[in-house]
């Protein structure tokens, strides 16, 4: 008996040692934090649970039926065949990506030899948006796959196939790591998109000016048009007008959180961050005569940097009372050395205002007469060149596109005049061949 007890005792000790050792090597909250990430909280399933990889969704019996794109049970098929997200990782093997990597991290090196596909900064958006430990099972070649939006499947992969799972409350599903992307939680869906398409500082997902100068395209996210053009692997009734308002608010809020992150000296980001400003305020050939000098400079000294021209072009139209904090931010960021504490303070205040506005946004569906009135007004504004810069004009155009699409859906046909106005605006805004900037674009007409 003693001998058996001794063996059991030794076995238990050995077992506990093994368990303890395994726990030490596994992804604990502390080790996740040590890797430089926030320990995942309830709102951040991507850093709480283990990712499984898109292969786990791709059985023909489940989501890979092989049917027409957008049909039920063919979500994986649709994603694989039509969705650019699926090739996001392959992009990292291109010459351009290599040049970016060389410029950013290995100046002077031969760009043929660098490997952006191993750079965590790239992988966060071009593959799985989590740390190495949690994505250990995921083939990076998946690119931006199911779990990037739906949440890591560790705890719900088995459960969600069971009857009754569908009817569980979103909060309960989130506890297991499944994110609510339904139309009823549109703001939540947009927040998922903006992690990559705008940025998420604490998660190291940031396209800043260093990266853009190295060769990365600029981020120009506008939710409703991105969503309209997205090859959906689900079916839903479109409401572009609502998508537009909510998209603007949630996107702007993400941009504010990013500037707060950059302003915080503990995060050691370049400051001031050039990507916060209107790209083309600087990036234009000097020409004579200069429409900028003719137009003048509103609310800033000549040559000061205009901040937030993309994300905040339309913001003041969406809710009352945003001007105070928005203008304070514009003023502060225009200084050669913006005060970090002031920027954080104003950005936080404005973000709260946007959050409140989003809570009440777009609950009533816009009917055709309201849509037409707005579309007509935008068309007039555009013709009158009633915008200070290209960013503002482009945001106006995208709003027009969203509302025009909404009108077409409601009326079941295209309005010829609006359609041709849309085409004209697009041509006006397009960059000339081999340019990445609006070389010949002039907001205000030339003064006599």
């Amino acid at each position: 008996m003693d001998a058996v007890m001794k063996r059991v005792g030794r076995g238990l000790v050995l077992l506990s040692a093994v368990i303890l050792v395994l726990k030490g090597f596994g992804p604990t909250e502390r080790s996740v934090a040590a890797l430089g990430q926030q320990a995942g909280n309830a709102d951040d399933p991507w850093n709480r649970f283990e990712w499984q990889g898109a292969g786990r969704c791709s059985s023909t019996a489940c989501h890979n039926k092989g049917g027409a794109p957008g049909t039920k049970r063919s979500e994986y098929t649709t994603w694989l065949t039509s969705d650019k997200h699926a090739t996001a990782y392959q992009t990292l093997s291109t010459d351009r990506s290599k040049i970016i990597e060389r410029n950013l991290n290995s100046p002077g090196a031969d760009w043929h030899s660098v490997r952006p596909e191993t750079d965590n900064l790239c992988l966060k958006c071009h593959a799985a948006k989590t740390n190495q430990a949690l994505r250990a099972k995921v083939p990076l070649e998946d690119g931006v796959s199911c779990e990037n939006c739906h949440g890591p499947a560790e705890k719900w992969l088995a459960d969600h196939t069971q009857p009754g799972f569908h009817d569980r409350a979103p909060a309960a599903k989130l506890e297991l790591g499944m994110v609510d992307l339904t139309a009823g939680n549109l703001a939540g869906r947009i927040r998922v998109c903006v992690d990559c398409h705008v940025g998420n500082g604490p998660h190291g997902m940031e396209v800043n000016h260093d990266l853009i100068a190295a060769g990365h395209p600029r981020l120009n996210f506008e939710f409703s048009v991105f969503m309209t053009n997205y090859p959906k692997h689900w079916v839903e009734e479109q409401d572009e007008a609502r998508a537009w308002s909510l998209g603007q608010l949630v996107t702007a809020k993400a941009a504010l959180q990013l500037v707060e992150y950059r302003a915080d000296p503990r995060n050691q980001r370049p400051w001031p961050e050039y990507a916060e400003y209107d790209c083309f305020a600087c990036h234009h050939d000097l020409v004579e005569p200069s429409w900028r000098q003719q137009r003048g400079y509103t609310n800033r000294r000549p040559g000061e940097l205009p901040w937030g021209t993309w994300y905040f072009a339309q913001t003041e139209q969406l809710a009352a009372g945003l001007g105070t904090h928005l203008n304070a931010l514009r003023r502060e960021m225009a200084r050669p050395a913006p005060d970090r504490a002031a920027v954080k303070r104003e950005a936080e205040a404005l973000a709260t205002q946007l959050q409140n506005a989003a809570a009440g946004a777009g609950s009533a569906k816009l009917a055709p007469p309201a849509l037409r009135a707005t579309l007509t007004r935008i068309e007039k504004d555009f013709q009158a060149r009633n915008f200070p810069n290209w960013d503002a004009a482009a945001q106006l155009y995208l709003r027009f596109a969203a509302l025009n699409h909404a009108l077409n859906n409601l009326e079941g046909s295209e309005d010829v005049q609006f359609q041709s106005a849309l085409k004209a605006m697009g041509e006006d805004l397009a960059f000339p061949k081999s340019y990445d900037s609006p070389r010949d674009f002039q907001p205000k007409p030339r003064s006599k």
Binding site: L104, P107, D210, H283, D285, L286, Q293, P336, D436
Partner: protein
Amino acid sequence: MPASFYRKMLCLAVLAGAAMVASSWSARSRVGAAQKDSGDKGPRPLYYGVENCSSCHTQPPPTVKNDPDNLCRCTEYPIWLDNDKHRQAYSVLKGTRATRMGELLGYKVQEAKQCIGCHGVYIADPKLKEESIKLGFTLEEGVSCVACHGAFEDWVDRHGGVRKRQWREYTREKKEKEFGMTDLWDPAKRTALCASCHVGNAAEGKVVTHDMYAAGHPPLPSFEVATFSDEMPRHWEYIKEKKPAVQKLLKFDPADAEWERTKLVVVSGIVNLRETMATLALESEQAAKAGDANRQGMDLAHFDCYACHHDLKSPSWRQQRGFPGKPGRPQIQAWPTVLVRLGLKQLGKDKAGFDAELKKVHDAFDAQPFGDPKAIGIAARAMVQWSNQMIQQLENSKSDQAAAYRLLRELCALSKEELLDYDSARQVIWAFENIYSELKPKPVGDLDAKIKEQFAALDKLLKLRLPSGPKHKILEELPQALERINSYEAKNFQQHMEELAKLLPRE
């Protein structure tokens, strides 16, 4: 006529004569007093108008036309009046462009120090200003004689009056220190003076800031003093151009072949660097200790304009080429550094030392967006010191035909080693043209013609000729000038320089 009438006339004449003699006596004693003053406290500041110069400097006095008594041409005033853009410098402040700039900037451009400092003559002391104006000074004369030759009355009286032969015996230092005549013979001093406006001088409040550019001030081109002087047109002569009798007076031996122009190009190459760095040092030091957030960053004018101001091309040659440090951080302008190689070549030094000093400046700019002002200040001050040492050594160096060819080959070599931007390219070819023009004999056969062809082709590429004089308007030529800058391809310039290199004789 009664005798009493003639008696009265005689008395009047005597009285008038006595009065004239008395007044001239007292005038002389005033001058004497001034001269005594100058001996005690240094020269007396005075901003004089051109009328004080034009009486003698319009044409050589008839009695001394063939007498080499005068070192100068004595035609400087009409040359400046009729041909020199400096004459119009103040009047442009009244034009449409300047008016619009005033609206956008919110101050009166015709009165502001930051405008008049370069577009006229700024007088800080209100009493001195009042006195000067009473004695004929006016801003309307633009950048006139007093702006460059020294705003002191002592030398004006001395240099051309009864003591002019005595004046000629004085050293240039004495003329400057005791009497206030700026030593413009010295290539370093001349360049520094010109550069104070054409490059900038923060200590004198002469900086074209970025808000001025954004409001409409044309971009300042790169500055090569020999070229700019020729195109002024210069109202003075190189020693080689002077009459033989004047050359004899100046103890100049033509057989000695003093390479005055080449020396000017080489020395000014370093002076441009020093002046740029001195302004950078002062401005960055002020930014580093500024309390007000508006003054804490470097003014954007201190960065290379075209680092930011270019339309984005795809593919981008900057991205293909890569970046020496962090991508996308604007650096200082490159052109003030490009002709430093000539000075190094002249003194037989290699460029490792200079490259190391320059790297410190570049690293300071790279450290954070818009540079780390404290680090920039330290690096720029070190550059000023380095430049001063070089200038001192260069002043004592001499050139000859072989040395000139070495300098030309150095210009070709540096064009081959790196892709130069537009402004740097202009500096290189301006330097080349100037040094080449002093060569005697020129390359044999048709090489000279071929070289001139390359100059013409480069003129098309770089718009080398300046909008000088009253006829060429800067604003009218600006669209074309900017178009050249925007369409400039560094590889094109490199190819032309390779052709030039082939046309130079082998050592």
